[in-house]
Amino acid sequence: MFETDILTPLYITLKVAAIATGVSSVAAIIAAWLLGRRQGPLPLLLDALCTLPLVLPPTVLGYYLILVLGRRGVVGQWLAEAGVSLMFSWQGAVAAAAVVVFPLIYKSSRAALEQVDRRYEDAARTLGASEWRIFLGVSLPLAWRGIFAGLMLAFARGMGEFGATLMIAGNIPGKTQTLALAIYDAFQAGNDAQATGLVLVASVTCAALLAGSEWLVRRGISRRQA
């Protein structure tokens, strides 16, 4: 009983954070690449928009998401016709986490891509490569350390997502209840043993994740310099 109550939220948390990070990373890295090399008022505005979820309270994000994805929302109506509802489902939790982690990936990718020496990209251009080929074959591999660090940060942040998730996906045990929600639940119910167990699991998982990613980065460096 005790075992399953801890493992289910952990599984939901990892699933939601991983999918949200994956979905968000594609959009965030491409946005970082596109906006990083354009000047003018529109890119400036878009940059602010991409960073906004970082500073807004998660509940505000949750409210916006309900406006968009809710049953009467712009996208929600359309989804409902297709028989899909994101409200109170784990997919809704993914949407919430994806929006929350987006700026973390966007910001770190942008910084990492801007640090790539322009000369390598210019060299690739004179060798006949298209901008897409340069992005995938030169810029991205040269910036991967910074981007990877951003992804890890995003994953860890996604695991801890609380506010927006609660508003969209609710707090349904076994379905949308992630670790963060389960801890709050257990604490509110006065079930201290359960809360302590969940807190320990969350802490160990996050620590292992950060140590593991650091190890991967170091291994990558030593291999290239060997």
């Binding site: 020496d117 000369r119 390598y120 210019d122 060299a123 690739a124 251009r125 004179t126 060798l127 006949g128 490569a129 298209s130 080929r133 995938l136 074959g137 030169v138 591999p141 040269l142 290239r224 310099q225």
Partner: protein
């Protein structure tokens, strides 16, 4: 005929004064190698970048053998990847995450540079072999010496089959002793090529070895175009020859050492 008629202006910023490039040059595109000579900041590199498509002039027109690469009035700006102009960068700019072989194959490769077709692999190895560095194919650029990097970078540029090769200060990244030896080496390698070369330098020694035609740059414009061997013939030394040319163009701003 390489025809460069262009202007580009950089407004004065917080850190530096402004810069105005105003080049009117018509050079024969034969095999003879051309040296662009002038002090740092005289606009040589910017000129080559405009020619290669890495920088965009504000006004003017650039063409090679009648093919227009840039025309401000007609809004033509052929992207660098379609110009088929090889460029050897000052510090060679070899891709640090790719092996020597993958660097050389990049200009002809498929979408991902680390996946090279067997035929392209062979071609790249042949090219490396021409410059005597085929045994380094599996190394990474960080494991190469300065001279080896230069050869690999030349092989990489030529493997993309350019119609014109631009070399930006080919020896500035090397220490002086190595420079002496490599200058001879590169001269030998370039002599075997069928591709015309444009070389940038502020070193008189480079002019003496490479220049068949000399273009003098000063303060953002090309001041003189001369047949170098006949120009040199009238002087006791390279230094004397170039000093006289420089003084005739820009006496007040030259340092006394010359």
């Amino acid at each position: 005929m390489i025809s460069l008629h262009m202007e580009k202006t950089f407004a004065p910023g917080r850190t530096g004064e402004g810069f105005h490039l105003n080049v009117r040059l018509d050079l024969p595109s034969g095999k003879a190698s051309i040296v662009l000579f002038g002090a740092s900041g005289s606009g040589k590199t910017l000129t080559l970048q405009c020619l290669a498509g890495l920088a965009r002039p504000d006004r003017g027109r650039i063409s090679i053998d009648g093919e227009v690469l840039f025309d401000a009035d007609d809004k033509i700006h052929v992207p660098a990847r379609r110009r088929r102009i090889g460029y050897m960068f000052q510090d060679y700019a070899l891709f640090p995450h790719l092996t020597v072989l993958h660097n050389v194959a990049y200009g002809r490769g498929g979408f991902f540079p680390w996946r090279v077709h067997a035929a392209e692999r062979r071609r790249a190895l042949d090219m490396l072999d021409r410059f005597g560095v085929a045994h380094l194919a599996r190394r990474y650029p960080s494991q190469l010496s300065g001279g080896q990097k230069q050869r690999v970078s030349l092989a990489r540029a030529l493997n993309a089959a350019p119609r014109l090769l631009l070399l930006d200060e080919p020896f500035s990244a090397l220490d002086p002793l190595l420079r002496l030896r490599l200058r001879q080496e590169l001269h030998g390698m370039l002599a075997d090529l069928t591709v015309p070369c444009l070389i940038i330098s502020h070193d008189p020694e480079d002019v003496d070895i490479f220049a068949q035609r000399l273009v003098l740059f000063h303060a953002g414009s090309a001041r003189e175009v001369r047949e170098y061997p006949s120009l040199r013939a009238g002087h006791a030394s390279t230094q004397a020859c170039l000093c006289q040319l420089l003084e005739a163009n820009a006496a007040p701003r030259l340092p006394r050492a010359c």
